[in-house]
């Protein structure tokens, strides 16, 4: 039985450059993903009017218990200790995604300074009583020159 053995193709310079750029892009995206602040976000709908139950925690974006027509606000501080600006944006997922509003998104934090993002949830009339709306909020911080 005969086997065809093909000689190994050497990478051209342009291939090496493209591979290096792709690797750098991948490593950068990996770093940004790892460095992102990740929070579990949740809110429970309770019956009644004007009821707001607060669950104080700094581990999650817990908006507590809210009845229809009420709202809750949570703030997250972002520190930039780098000598570069940080481009910040938040991504929301899960059933709470459409309920959480941000006071700002897609913004820059100057070098060696801090800023705050305000997350608010308003419970609309169509929210299901006793349902827990949850999900995750990711705060991505991209160093910019």
């Amino acid at each position: 039985m005969e086997e065809l053995i093909q000689p190994k193709k050497k990478l051209r310079l342009i291939d090496k450059i493209v591979l290096a750029v792709l690797l750098l892009v991948f490593l950068f995206a990996f770093y940004v993903t790892l460095d992102a602040n990740k929070y579990r976000a949740l809110v429970r709908v309770v019956a009644g009017e004007g009821k707001v139950g607060v669950n104080p925690t700094d581990q999650a974006l817990d908006f507590g218990d809210l009845s229809r027509g009420t709202s809750a606000v949570r703030r997250v501080a972002i520190e930039n200790g780098l000598p570069l600006s940080l481009y910040v944006f938040a991504v929301r997922t899960g059933s709470i995604r459409t309920l959480v509003k941000l006071d700002k998104n897609y913004f820059r934090i100057p070098p060696r300074s801090s800023d705050k993002i305000e997350f608010s949830v308003y419970m609309p009339a169509s929210a299901e009583i006793d349902r827990v709306y949850d999900g995750r909020v990711y705060l991505f911080k991209i160093p910019m020159p």
Binding site: R68, G69, T98, L99, P124, A125, S126
Partner: protein, 145 residues
């Protein structure tokens, strides 16, 4: 056929397909759905959770007042060029229609039937919508403000 001629022919075919979709689809939808406004973007959360901000909904025109019923999602035009509103029919009083956003606590002001542009196209009693595709319109309207 030379490579250049084949490239130009392929490009021409692709452009024809894209052009056909961009210009032909709205015309086709206008004809098929019997309305000059076959699509609308959701610009607020008033119909949450059925329709979210940024969704694109399809509008069906050519309806008669007798065919409208409580629970239908309709599109109506404001009297003083207030733009379009997409809300659910809450009550019908003779020729007057009263709508309400699912997420709202209060009903809208009564409207006349001639203000109704159409009804949201439904499939199995749920409005046909494409999530996020209406975001471009939402961004443009926010930009104007």
């Amino acid at each position: 056929m030379s490579r250049a001629a084949r490239f130009i022919l392929n490009l021409f075919v692709y452009l024809a397909i894209i052009g056909g979709l961009i210009f032909g689809l709205p015309r086709f939808l206008t004809w098929a759905l019997e309305t000059p406004y076959p699509m609308a973007a959701i610009t607020s959360g008033s119909m949450w959770p059925v329709l979210n901000e940024g969704d694109l909904v399809f509008i069906q025109g050519g309806r008669k007042l007798e065919e409208l019923k409580v629970g239908d999602i309709i599109v109506w035009r404001g009297t003083e060029d207030r733009g379009f509103t997409i809300h659910r029919v809450a009550r019908i009083n003779g020729s007057q229609i009263i709508t309400k956003g699912d997420a709202n606590f209060n009903e809208d002001q009564p409207i006349e039937f001639d203000q109704v542009v159409g009804r949201a196209l439904t499939f199995r009693d749920r409005p046909v919508h494409i999530p996020h595709l209406g975001s471009i319109t939402v961004l443009a309207s926010n930009w104007k403000k």
